[in-house]
């Protein structure tokens, strides 16, 4: 395989990993606090729709981003209310959010824009466009390193850089700040947090809202950066794959990045392999290639990753008990 092809595959790996990474980090905050979130998918979808709609109406990608974060955080608030305040079942709440988001985005899309649930195609000025890093053009012809810098590192949109910057930032927040210490503690033993004089509910609310914010960013990426419009069900299970990556990564930020890159790579390789005929196998069926990330998810989650110990209080609403 040619070097240029490798760079191309890796480049699209990065772009395909970005929404996974944002959603998985979102899930990390929520689940570390003890609130399981199966609704990453729905929040991302709502964010994508809100971004597509707002960006096309106001013609600004930033309006889209704000709308996406707002929509996703609103759903996060619903999840927080259901699972923290009224102590409902977190899985049921998450599933409900996924359904609501899938239905509502299609319905509103059709009634507002009349394009079969899509939002209008965005002009360039209403999108987040690639950023040329300084010196990219100059080093382009330097052997080996040139193409890596120009083709792989430079030329992504803002979200990609933001997502990867969130990895060390999340690590620092979770493991080096007071908020992180309390976040980890409340996901392990909320009673210990409560008896230490810290409010369990407000801590979990904050975690779930951060989750909502990052899901919104992931959604905005899909409709205003990666694509140029919202299409029905455009998340296509990315929220669930992000959840799988989070579990695969055992709720650790750096591992989350690698897991998301792996899923992104499979996706990128899959696209590349379409129609290619391999020795001894022949033409690779498109469907098989497209199914690869999902097959890997099943295999990984079926226990090939060793025991993933979730936060001990995860999924359990906190009640004061004797």
């Amino acid at each position: 395989m040619e070097f240029a092809t490798v760079i191309q595959i890796l480049d699209s790996t990065v772009r395909l990993s970005t929404p996974l990474l944002l959603a998985a980090l979102a899930g990390l905050y929520s689940e570390r606090s003890g609130v399981f979130d199966i609704g990453l998918e729905g929040k991302m979808l709502a964010g994508a729709f809100a971004a597509g709609a707002a960006a096309s109406v106001w013609g600004s990608p930033w309006a889209g981003l704000v709308a996406a974060i707002g929509a996703s955080m609103a759903l996060a608030l619903v999840h927080a209310f259901a699972s923290i305040t009224v102590r409902g079942n977190q899985i049921v709440s998450g599933v409900a959010i996924n359904f609501v988001a899938a239905g509502l985005t299609a319905l509103l899309g059709q009634s507002w824009f009349g394009q079969g649930g899509r939002t209008p195609s965005l002009p360039t000025e209403a999108r987040f466009t690639p950023i040329e890093l300084p010196g990219a053009a100059a080093v382009k012809d330097v052997p080996f390193l040139g193409p890596i810098y120009e083709g792989l590192i430079s030329g992504h949109n803002l979200f990609v850089y933001f997502a990867f910057a969130m990895v060390p930032l999340t690590w620092w927040v979770v493991f080096r700040t007071r908020f992180g210490l309390r976040l980890r503690a409340v996901g392990e033993n909320p009673a210990a947090v409560d008896t230490a004089g810290i409010g369990v509910q407000s801590l979990r609310y904050r975690a779930v809202l951060i989750c909502g914010m990052l899901c919104g960013v992931a959604g905005a990426y899909l409709s205003t950066a990666f694509n140029a419009q919202f299409v029905q069900n455009m998340t296509a299970g990315k929220g669930f794959i992000a959840l799988a990556a989070l579990i695969f990564a055992k709720w650790k930020p750096l591992n989350v990045m690698w897991a998301c890159l792996l899923f992104g790579f499979l996706d990128a390789a899959g696209i590349r392999l379409q129609g290619v005929s391999l020795p001894a196998i022949g033409q690779v069926p498109v469907q098989l290639v497209q199914a690869l990330p999902y097959i890997l998810t099943v295999i990984l989650l079926a226990g090939f990753i060793g025991k993933a110990v979730p936060p001990r209080a995860g999924g359990v609403p906190y009640t004061k008990e004797r």
């Binding site: 080096r176 700040t177 007071r178 908020f179 992180g180 210490l181 309390r182 980890r184 503690a185 392990e188 033993n189 009673a191 210990a192 947090v193 409560d194 008896t195 230490a196 004089g197 810290i198 409010g199 001990r312 004061k320 004797r322």
Partner: protein
């Protein structure tokens, strides 16, 4: 001093005064018009049966619950304690019965949680380390600040809880049933620490249901019964018998009356049993012993030394790695093909250690639980259907015989008290006329009145010629009931002793110190 009263330590001022505290959970009045005065610089015991309202009262004091009515005075000043934060600010620290520690955090992280001193940890953690070291030296309570909690023995975990409270500047320390998880030696060390805290002017409130501890360490004691404080005494002016009577409200027999045992032939024989847990750690290591008809063999030991797994293997719940168990002359496939149902058919009854997780289905009605596991016996069946009438008749008979209260076989099992739940399990397992009876923790979380009854029943079973294997972490109980005592430590039988062996000697075996002077493994002092 008149009335035999002695001088109490401290300046006589009140650290805590509760006036008319009441608290109800639905129809249950957990605390009723509580009046309590705790003098500064003393150790004040609060004793009462399970469910007497001790923990509720302390939870109110620590801001975990809100009282329905009544006032709290701290150091003479009326204080409203809305949450734990307010309690901490008022100088109250609490060591809970179930430790409030984050298991996968380090000691230091646990200590600073909630008292971090700044949003970024790095700067705060250095200061915390110094302060923790100072506290450790001041109270002779050493523990590695970087150790992970779940890797520490429970005795040290408890020490972390105390350090946590002191780190927050607690002047009043509440300990809820602190010795339940400790060896006698660890308990003694805890008492020395409490004594030292008292000498430094701190006030200690000790909640327990163990009379001996009250006598050993407290200056004053308040007795709770059914949500009320029925008496407060100076410890020096009271005795165990009086306190027991105050707790239960009637005269109780603290000693178990039992005659000589008449052991017959071997009914249960355990040979070289080795068990590994799911992580591959050997938890029971080459254990052998016999239990004869008409005798009680007691297994003593600190919780977590393999007793639970041993019981589970013999009862067919857990697969053993190697070894043999012979029940009534025939081996059971303890390494493979036996299951609890099959063993039950062959005359093995089992009262599991944890009645909530193994012994009962709490949302079920009492009568359903009273036949659980025996529900496929023909007398409870009507073709393929359950014979509800027969089941309820049977349940009613057991309720009468075992004095289960309230006597209502349709009541949800969760609504019975701990002692009555335990009686439901005991009635079920004892009334099938077993050959061998395995009993784990017969009186854990059971009140004094019920303990007396349960102990009597166990002795009766022995005198009927049953072979009984008794596992309990309460050393007193093992010594009172058993005819022979095996002490388990780190998965092995550390020794066999007679039940009248002095407690100190058994305590040494429980800590893994055998005659040849081999010390205890692990980090406990």
């Amino acid at each position: 001093m008149e009335n035999g009263e002695t001088e109490l330590p401290g300046d006589g001022a009140l650290a805590i005064e509760l006036k008319g505290i009441s608290k109800a959970f639905g129809p249950v009045q957990a605390n009723k018009d509580i009046r309590l005065a705790v003098k500064r610089g003393t150790i004040h015991g609060i004793i009462g049966e399970n469910g007497a309202g001790k923990s509720t009262l302390m939870s109110i004091l620590y801001g975990f619950y809100q009282a329905d009515s009544g006032d709290i005075y701290i150091n003479g000043k009326k204080t409203r304690i809305a949450d734990s934060d307010a309690a901490i600010a008022a100088g109250i620290g609490m060591v809970h019965q179930h430790f409030m520690l984050v298991q996968n955090f380090t000691v230091l992280e646990n200590v600073i949680l909630g008292a971090e001193n700044g949003a970024i940890l790095n700067s705060a953690i250095g200061k915390a380390r110094t302060e923790l070291k100072r506290l450790e030296d001041a109270y002779d309570m050493h523990v590695d600040p970087d150790a992970i909690i779940e890797e520490l023995p429970v005795g040290l975990q408890q020490r972390v809880e105390i350090l946590k409270a002191l780190y927050r500047g607690a002047e009043i320390l509440i300990l809820d049933e602190p010795t339940g998880v400790l060896t006698p030696a660890e308990a003694d060390h805890l008492f020395r620490i409490l004594q030292q805290l008292k000498e430094q002017g701190k006030t200690v409130i000790l909640i327990t249901h163990k009379l001996r501890e009250i006598m050993a360490i407290t200056d004053e004691v308040s007795v709770m019964r059914r949500g009320e404080i029925v008496a407060t005494r100076q410890t020096a002016a009271t005795n165990v018998e009086e306190l027991a009577e105050l707790m239960v409200g009637r005269h109780v027999l603290l000693r178990v009356d039992k005659g000589q045992s008449h052991p017959g032939e071997v009914k249960l024989s355990v040979r070289n049993l080795t068990i590994r847990d799911s992580r591959g750690v050997t938890v029971v290591d080459d254990v052998s012993f016999d239990v004869r008809a008409g005798e009680i063999v007691g297994i003593a030991g600190v919780a977590g030394n393999g007793q639970s797994q041993l019981l589970e293997a013999i009862s067919g719940i857990r697969k053993a790695r190697s070894g043999q168990v012979i029940l009534d002359g025939e081996p059971i496939g303890v390494t493979g093909e036996c299951d609890p149902g099959m063993l039950r058919e062959r005359g093995l009854a089992h009262v599991p250690e944890d009645r909530h997780h193994m012994g009962l289905v709490l949302p079920f009605e009492e009568n359903e639980n009273s036949i659980l596991g025996y529900h496929d016996k023909s007398k409870f069946l009507n073709g393929p259907m359950l014979n509800i009438d027969a089941i309820r008749q049977d349940a009613k008979a057991k309720i009468e015989q075992y004095d289960i209260r309230p006597p209502d076989c349709r009541l949800k099992t969760a609504n019975f008290s701990g002692g009555n739940q335990q009686k439901i399990v005991l009635a079920r397992e004892m009334e099938v006329d077993p050959v061998v009876l395995l009993i784990g923790q017969p009186t854990r979380g059971v009140d004094v009145g019920a303990i007396e009854f349960i102990h009597k029943r166990i002795i009766e079973m022995r005198d009927q010629g049953k072979a009984i294997l008794l596992v309990s972490v309460e050393l007193d109980e093992v010594r009172a009931l058993a005819d022979r005592v095996l002490v388990m430590f780190a998965g092995k039988v550390a020794g066999e002793v007679a039940p009248d062996t002095p407690e100190g000697e058994i305590g040494l075996l429980m800590a893994g110190i055998t005659q040849d002077g081999a010390g205890r493994k692990g980090k406990a002092a």
